[in-house]
């Protein structure tokens, strides 16, 4: 399992909704190539840092429970993925988690995570090590059904494989 170090760029509360991640008024914009500009649009400081490329890929946002609750809008996932940010949360809302798996956004379920802005995290296959604090926190693995999609390289690739199998059978 590969691992990397991620700097915490923001700490967020419980129940961060998809309206916070990607406000509804930008929903007419759908393409993953165009959505990253509106990432956390109403958190103006964070949005500015993202747009100015001040946040390097593999940085982490650490959040509380129920991250991504609310609307099923997939832009909420593609907008974060566009910045290659990893979300370490105490828990995720169902549709957001499934969309992340489908699109390949890195999400880590870490129910006991403790971190502050600026901390360095090492994300391993079974735990998150807060290198700055010298503490580690266990990860809840993805259910097997979801891991299969991640392993295939996302849902597009997974479904394409199934489509080809189905067509060959005919």
């Amino acid at each position: 399992m590969s691992h990397h170090t991620s700097k915490v760029v923001a700490i967020m509360t419980n129940d961060i909704s998809t309206d916070i991640i990607y406000p509804g008024r930008f929903m007419a914009t759908v393409l993953p190539t165009e959505t990253p500009q509106y990432c956390f649009a109403d958190m103006t400081e964070l949005n500015k840092r993202l747009k100015n490329k001040e946040i390097p890929p593999n940085s982490a946002i650490v959040a509380g429970a129920n991250f991504g609750c609310g609307s099923s809008r997939e832009q909420a996932v593609s907008t974060i993925k566009g910045h290659e940010i990893v979300i370490v949360a105490k828990g995720f809302a169902r549709i957001f988690l499934q969309n992340s798996v489908n699109l390949g956004l890195k999400t880590v379920v870490c129910p006991t995570i403790e971190a502050a802005e600026g901390d360095e995290l090492e994300i391993l296959s079974d735990k998150v090590v807060n290198v700055t604090k010298g503490k580690s926190f266990p990860i809840e693995p993805l259910p097997q059904a979801r891991q299969a999609i991640v392993d295939a390289g996302g849902l597009i690739a997974y479904t394409r494989k199934r489509l080809l199998e189905k067509t060959e059978k005919k």
Binding site: N14, D15, S17, D19, I20, P23, G24, R25, M27, A28, T29, V30, L31, D42, A65, N66, C69, G70, S71, S72, R73, E74, Q75, V77, G91, A93, R94, I95, Q98, N99, N102, L103, P143, Q144, A145, R146, A148, I149, G154, L155, I156, Y158, T159, R160, R162, L163, L164, K166, T167
Partner: protein, 429 residues
């Protein structure tokens, strides 16, 4: 083996005699619904077919529903162009359940589906909208998915790797007091469960209060089940479901009315008696920040919204019209009403509700989702406070992060329109 209602539906959709929570399945889809976000689904669908040499073709054009409702008529050239792209796709693929921007058959997707008889008890329904849970009101397993997952459904006709959810049984007994409605019940339940209390689970509604509830009220319960994180909110279908299908959807349903087994295993059982329930308010900025109306005092309002897939049906408009008939919306308050479908709009016109609301000062808008999620009309000013019968009050939800949204029933909204502050509707008439 004893099964919950969703377990029974999933067993049927996968051709098995029994399934249980935690099983991973690939159920057949009976109905796949999208709205304007079909533009993204089309994009992802084309990606799946890219370089395969296989001609682009949806699995079954009669099982796909596309309803324009989020931004109608288009508020921008971008939306209009997306809608055009979808219209072209619908034509090429022969999608039959397509509702364009028309006054004779359109409306909000979660109202258009049931009232057109597309929602059949016992079926599996997916939609690229989180409030797809609504259709559980007619005894279906209905849940929201993302656009890429919908593209996969369009390709294969199944939903991949569905983990059978556990179920929370909600027993609702007692008789609703005057002035208290299904919206108050679901707000109360969400407050009790919290916004993540039902994550990855199904809410299954039972009890005499549910038995005596109209399908319209049940739609409100199922609709907002997702606000407690639920995958789905389901009401076992009964005589009322059959009546609704026949009288309001034009379907003579003769199929089996699946019921959960009496000894089905539930993760949790919640008992609620509505006889003592008061009108409930969800305060900013989370839907689970719920308080009885007596604890929400002196909230001055700038805008009142009645409408949406949650509470924009005929009974909601009736309640509001009765309260507002011969009265006036308070000065300085804007009241917006958007019926859940054009069919409802037309019926409300016939019955005089629309005239009563207009005479009181309400603005009647076309049937669409727009202002619920801040994408089309009814935006709030900095510092504005909105009281709304819609389903979400997240920061920025109605188009401005510097505003506040409170959620309530149509009765509370109407009573409050007269006073300009959040007002208990009990005794308003």
């Amino acid at each position: 083996m004893s099964m919950t209602l969703v377990e029974k539906i999933l067993a049927r959709a996968t051709g098995q005699s029994a399934v249980k929570a935690g099983d991973v399945l690939e159920p057949k889809v009976d109905l796949a619904m999208s709205h304007e976000n079909a533009a993204l689904v089309i994009n992802q669908f084309s990606e799946i077919y890219k370089d395969t040499g296989i001609p682009l073709k949806v699995w079954d054009p009669s099982k796909i529903a596309i309803i324009f409702d989020h931004r109608v008529p288009a508020e921008s050239a971008k939306t209009a162009t997306n809608q055009k792209k979808i219209r072209d796709f619908v034509g090429k693929q022969g999608v039959t359940k397509f509702h364009d921007i028309r006054g004779d058959e359109g409306g909000i997707c979660h109202q258009v589906l049931p009232e057109n008889g597309y929602v059949i008890p016992g079926s599996v329904i997916v939609g690229t909208d989180s409030h797809t849970t609504s259709h559980g009101a007619l005894g279906t397993f209905a849940f929201g998915i993302g656009a890429t997952e919908m593209a996969s459904v369009w390709t294969l006709g199944t939903v991949l790797n569905v983990e059978v959810p556990g179920t929370i049984k909600v027993n609702v007994n007692g008789k609703f007091p005057v002035g208290v409605y299904p919206k108050d019940l679901i707000l109360y339940l969400i407050g009790k469960l919290t916004a993540e209390g039902a994550n990855f689970k199904v809410l299954e509604f039972h009890g005499e209060a549910i038995k005596n509830m109209s399908t319209s009220g049940r739609l409100t319960l199922s609709n907002m089940s997702v606000e407690a994180g639920a995958t789905s909110g389901i009401v076992p279908p009964d005589e009322e479901t059959v009546r609704y299908l026949k009288e309001e959807a034009g379907i003579d349903f003769k199929g089996e009315l699946l019921k959960p087994d009496l000894d089905a295993k539930y993760d949790q059982v919640i008992e609620i008696n509505v006889a003592t329930l008061a009108p409930q308010i969800a305060k900013p900025h989370t839907v689970d920040n719920v308080k009885p109306i007596s604890e929400v005092t002196n909230v001055k309002l700038n805008q009142i919204v009645i409408g949406s897939c949650t509470n924009g049906r005929l009974d909601d408009l009736e309640v509001a019209a009765k309260i507002l008939k011969g009265k006036k919306v308070a000065k300085g308050v804007r009241m917006l009403v958007f019926p859940a479908s054009w069919r409802i709009y037309k019926e409300a016109l016939k019955r005089g509700y629309i005239a009563d609301l207009m005479d009181a000062g309400a603005v009647i808008m076309n049937s669409n989702c727009g202002c619920c999620l801040g994408v089309h009309q009814g935006a709030l000013a900095d510092g504005d406070v909105s009281l709304s019968t819609t389903n979400r009050n997240f920061k920025g939800r109605q188009g401005n992060p510097n505003s506040e949204v409170y959620l309530c029933s149509a009765a509370v909204a109407a009573a409050s329109a007269i006073t300009g502050v959040i007002t208990d509707p009990r005794g308003a008439n």
